[in-house]
């Protein structure tokens, strides 16, 4: 599992070290650098997967700019032209291993430039990684380490878009799930019986939902269930409608259901990445669903060995967190007076008389992570 993320010289992050846990929630003002943190992992991921070109980065959810706009730029500080990212991985037996990335470009002014990594450590196949130490090629075959590096190469930032979730557009080619939510119906159609069972446990999150299913032959579109402008073969049954006439397509469904379903599928499936990020998890979701969904996703992450970095602007998401559990962490991201992004983990005292929910503590200013200029 990824334990520590150290970042130098990436966009608004001059220098930061973040001790991660299994579920990591990031809150902060708009533009404070939350997504930049997620992007640094995508840069390291692309590097270790040997796809440090524009496409490899876009496919992981990185917002592309010229290299000299990607390096940190602060008034009064000379700009450096290398991004340094170090990931400390930790195995079950407490064994640790550092995965460095020292990223640079030959042409800092070229938005299409291919990035390069000085560190020379990458995944060869599912059984070994190769690294260069003091000009000597070495291979590592410890299963936990190879597995963790493989997981890193599969990392991406999900930033959902309803049109993609419903199959109207398909911009991301990542499989099984695209960064905007593409491929949800196909992933569900590949679900095992066990996975369906697990998924159905969460039907209670959507009050009207009787059943979710996929129309593998895509024949329902010829029976008037949708116009067919979307490619999604995902359908729902409404528990309040007449049984003989209670089916409707994802194309016609509300936006919340497809978002909830996406997150559940992501955390349940063994085909989805084990390490990933979600930007703005709250989009389209009712506050109570935000809270309960997060609580359930944390449980699923523990059961299915997922690790996630999640940003949110919705306080109710925080109410699904238990900060007394070491596997859940909350970070406040802010920019200091020089504009540099910094992160701070929030821990509550073990015994405290506070009676407020975390959401209220955030909204009242006790945690930080709010604008202070008005």
């Amino acid at each position: 599992m990824l334990k520590t993320l150290t970042i130098e010289n990436y966009k608004s992050i001059h220098n930061a070290t973040i001790e991660l846990s299994r579920i990591n929630i990031f809150i902060g003002d708009n533009g404070c650098g939350k997504t930049n943190i997620l992007e640094t992992l995508a840069m390291a991921s692309a590097s270790k997967a040997l796809v440090l070109d524009v496409e490899g980065l876009i496919n992981r959810g990185v917002r592309i700019a010229r290299p000299n706009l990607t390096f940190s730029s602060f008034t009064g500080i000379r700009q450096q032209n290398k991004i340094i990212i170090n990931l400390e991985l930790q195995g079950n037996n407490e064994a640790k291993f550092d995965i460095p990335s020292i990223l640079y470009c030959d042409d800092d002014n070229n938005i299409y430039a291919v990035w390069k990594d000085e560190s020379r450590l990458y995944l060869i196949d599912k059984t070994e990684i190769r690294l260069n130490v003091n000009n000597e090629e070495q291979t590592k075959k410890e299963p936990w380490l190879v597995n963790d590096v493989k997981q890193l190469t599969e990392y991406l930032i999900f930033n959902l878009n309803t049109e993609a979730l419903k199959g109207f557009i398909s911009n991301s080619k990542r499989i099984p799930l695209g960064i905007n939510g593409e491929g949800l119906d196909v992933l569900l159609s590949e679900f095992t019986e066990q996975e369906w069972k697990q998924l159905q446990k969460y039907n209670y999150l959507i009050s009207w939902l009787e059943e979710t299913f996929t129309d593998k032959k895509d024949s329902l579109k010829f029976k008037g269930y949708k116009l067919g402008r979307s490619n999604s073969i995902l359908y729902f049954k409404d528990k309040f409608m007449q049984k003989k006439n209670n089916v409707f397509s994802a194309e016609n469904a509300n936006d919340g259901i497809v978002h909830v379903l996406f997150y559940l599928a992501l955390f349940i499936s063994h085909k989805t990445p084990s390490l990933f990020a979600i930007d703005n998890i709250e989009t389209y979701l009712n506050p109570r669903i935000c809270r309960t969904l997060l609580k359930e996703l944390i449980q699923l992450a523990k059961e299915n060995h997922k690790q996630a970095l999640i940003t949110t602007h919705n306080p109710s998401v925080l109410d699904g967190l238990n900060l007394h559990d070491d596997e859940q962490k909350l970070f406040v991201v802010s920019r200091n007076d020089d504009g540099k992004t910094q992160t701070k983990p929030i821990r509550l005292k073990p015994k405290s008389d506070e009676k407020l929910k975390l959401s209220e503590m955030w909204m009242r200013g006790y945690l930080g992570g709010l604008p202070t200029n008005f």
């Binding site: 802010s334 920019r335 200091n336 007076d337 910094q342 929030i346 821990r347 509550l348 005292k349 405290s352 008389d353 506070e354 009676k355 407020l356 503590m361 909204m363 009242r364 200013g365 006790y366 945690l367 930080g368 709010l370 202070t372 200029n373 008005f374």
Partner: protein
């Protein structure tokens, strides 16, 4: 270190923020404004007057109720709260702080400050002493800001109406452009942030504190507690 500020109004918040930067080089990201309006929604606020968000009663209420302090201190971190209050209304009912003789009394600011602190501790039932800084502005925070602009050598608390004096001096000293840009700004936080930005420089602040004893004592108290 993380500092929460409970103050009478936004202008006071802005001034204290700049003082913290100048005196202990605390970055703004390590301060939070415990603003009363964050406790209410716009529907509640609709039925409240502007004064309900900007007076000493808010500070008293926070002290007496204590929830704000308990909740703020529930985070595992070195945390402090700054309680800011003016002395201009010290005689008002429910505030009721004894004001010493002002004329020819070199101890006036110190004694009045101590009286207000005693009153605050009474409201707090003597809890949280180690985690609180008292920003007692004698007589108003404007007197602290006045130290930046005045040409006089006497303590700025000696003016009968420091707020009025501050605006007189500003209208005289600021350029037309700055009067339009700063003084006519509706955002009190932004206005007083600009008016007091010289406090951000330690060297300047050290000079200004000599023109207001209550400002000096507050600044000194920051150092004493933090070093302790």
């Amino acid at each position: 270190m993380y500092i929460g500020i409970i103050a009478e109004g936004k202008s006071d918040l802005a001034v204290i923020r700049n003082i913290l930067k100048g005196k202990i080089q605390l970055d703004s990201s390590n301060m939070t404004f415990l603003q009363p309006e964050l406790d209410f929604d716009e529907t509640d606020i609709h039925n409240m007057s502007k004064e309900q968000f900007s007076n000493w009663e808010l500070v008293k209420q926070a002290c007496v109720e204590k929830n704000k302090l308990v909740d703020f201190f529930s985070v595992e971190e070195e945390r402090y709260i700054i309680l800011q209050i003016d002395t201009a209304e010290a005689e008002e009912i429910n505030y009721e702080v004894e004001r010493p003789e002002k004329r020819a009394n070199p101890d006036y600011s110190r004694v009045l400050r101590n009286n207000v602190i005693d009153k605050i501790n009474e409201w707090l039932e003597n809890q949280f002493n180690e985690q609180i800084f008292y920003a007692i502005a004698i007589e108003e925070t404007e007197a602290w800001v006045l130290t930046i602009y005045t040409d006089q050598k006497r303590d700025t608390c000696k003016y009968n109406d420091p707020k009025d004096e501050l605006y007189k001096v500003l209208n005289r000293k600021l350029s037309k452009k700055d009067i339009n840009k700063i003084l006519k700004c509706d955002n009190e936080l932004e206005k007083f942030d600009k008016l007091s930005q010289k406090f951000r420089r330690k060297k300047d602040l050290m000079r200004y504190v000599n023109l207001n004893e209550s400002l000096k004592i507050f600044c000194d108290s920051l150092i004493i507690k933090i070093l302790k």
